[in-house]
Amino acid sequence: MGCVEVLLRAAPWLVTVLLLAPVALGVGLTLLPAFGYLPVLGGDSVSLDPWRQLLAMPGLGRSVSLSLLAGVLTPLLALAIVLMFLAGSSGTALERWLRRLVAPLLAVPHAAAAFGLAFLIAPAGLLSRLVSPGLTGSERPPDLLIVNDPWGLSMMLALVLKEVPFLLLMALAALPQCEPGPRVLLARSLGYRPAVAWVLTVLPALYPLLRLPVYAVIAYASATVDVAMILGPTLPATLSVSVLQWFSDPDLNLRFQAAAGAVLQLGVTALAMLLWRLLEALAAVAGRHWLAAGQRSRGEAVLRHAGRLGVVFLLALALGSLLALLLNSVAGFWRFPDALPGNWTLQTWSRALPEVLAPLGNTLLLAGAATLIAVSLCLAVLEAEGRQGRRLAPALWLLYLPLLVPQIAFLFGLIVATEFLRWTPDARLVLFVHLLFVLPYVFLSLSEAWRHLDPRWTQLATTLGASPWRRFWRIRLPLLLGPCLSAAAVGLAVSVGQYLATQLPGAGRVPTLTTEAVALAAGGNRGIIAVWALLQAAVPMLGFAMALLVPRLLWRHRLGMRSTP
């Protein structure tokens, strides 16, 4: 028991170090080779050569602009849709319905969503088939570069598609703290229309709670690798993809240039955040003017319709993408303007399945282990907090740290560190890196429910003579089984979706569903890609389904457990 107690006390420290050290070390060790210092590769003096090489790359400016654009524009669009939707549709049937859809939509890995979108909107995609030849009058796919378009529009669309459910979930979780009901009611009694009332009274309280998630979205959007590899422009690619290409190049001298590129990526993400900060300030000024003007109904119609329209559009896009994946996975011969395949076949599935097994096993093992460790650590921190009666968890910004720094910027340095230590990259290293991303999400989704459990349950168990451990195992854990499983499902989904965090630390030798699916992108066999993308989406979905079903099954004779106590 003594040993476990010590672990419990150490857990908050362990989590803090786990979140801080790899990021700090990673960024630090990316800076060294960026300035020419990497003795393993013969770089033993500080120089600006890597930067000269980098700046001489053709199309660098465009790469940087693309990353910056995606980093500011997609969060802006996603946040606008989410906020307008909440302003105009709070309490409607659509909102209640969407609440249930948010988690599974979020569970779909970025790569799977990107493939689905590609199959939907590509020149020969489902959408184009549906309107041809009826509307377009064309028997041939339009000669348009829709996917991999030079301005990254399709890539940005995929990012928005994934960012909206994330921000919506975060907003829905934070909303109760802002007491939207009474605030809107009060403003309405003063004559403000409902959506305007929401923007003027609820939003100022909500946004500060959304700020860190928004910055995480900026970091992801400005540095995404997998979505950019599937949908993004190619000549030149976005900055993060270029950096990965240089890093993976057989010519090891490109490593220095890649390191400089990774540091540049850090700067681009920071710049995107800075621009966002500016937008925040502008919005605050505009908001004050709006408030001072005292207009009761101006903007009501726009708020009411734009948000709903955006959400419905994205929902249709998501469902269409799923349909496109399903159709492609079972399509036999499929002539262009035909909306449906000429014949159906399960051949693609049966051909792909034997190759799927090993990556599927790796995926499940990595996701399962990372989630188990993350949930245990989070429970330890929360339990230690409960026993000592004060907050012990790392500060919120620290929890978000691995999500706020572009992955490529610190993973690069971590790989350098392992090379210094002469560790060969393997599955353990991949697991460790996955944990960095799984842990924050698990903690964020678990801590709220854990801290809000009615303290009387624990007090009651105590006065009945139960020891601290008995209170944990017999009371708190079963009462919070639902939130624990939901957090585990989130962790599972995060791990399954990792591309760069699997590819870099595994040196390509730990194939998962995600790395293999992304690798197939270049090949262009639509049926095979669809099978992999569907499997990739199915694993996290299954996780969420289990998180929903297991408590229902377990507590089927316990009415009181239907709503969380």
């Binding site: 349950w457 007090q459 009651l460 006065t463 079963p478 316990r558 009181g560 457990m561």
Partner: protein, 215 residues
Amino acid sequence: MNIASTLRVTHRLQLDDVRLCLQGRELLRLSAELTAGEILCVMGPSGSGKSSLLALLAGFLAPAFEASGRVLLDGRDVLPLPAEQRRIGLLFQDPLLFPHLSVGGNLRFALPAACSDKQTRIETALASIGLAGFAERDPATLSGGQKSRVALQRLLLSEPHAVLLDEPFSRLDTALRREVRALVFQTLQAAGLPSVLVTHDPEDAEAAGGRVVQL
């Protein structure tokens, strides 16, 4: 109450110059001596420190409070002990039957680990409140009065040496309140448990029939 009558030991609770302060301000100062079966009734407006007194006795006092004095249970000072070792039971406003356990599971949770005839004691306890055969039931399917009675039996099965009552009848409707109140007071007195009742209902104080402290 056959369970209660088996507990022949009599217990004594002494509050020896107990003082509670919050940020240097004295909330309450209290000395009292309770013999077996006696109920001390503490009354006062909200914010007067009633709940803090219970928290102090039960062992859940928030660190912001400072307490001094001694609380002797059968001659032993319990304040230095962790809450689960004080043998002071607590009845809340709500019955708070653990929703994930069956009715029997709730009672079993309260029984000391060393106890050997758990099943028999659970069945006897249920029979004594007219709920024989209810062990497998989901607590959510019980009526309000039934829940209160199960909660009381759960308290007794944990073999406390003193009991705290935190406005335990305030959430019940008038008719049920009288019935449950009578049962609780009778049971505690029969079990010889010194009890501290916190309430703002004068009827509670009257029914308790013991000393009343106004805060």
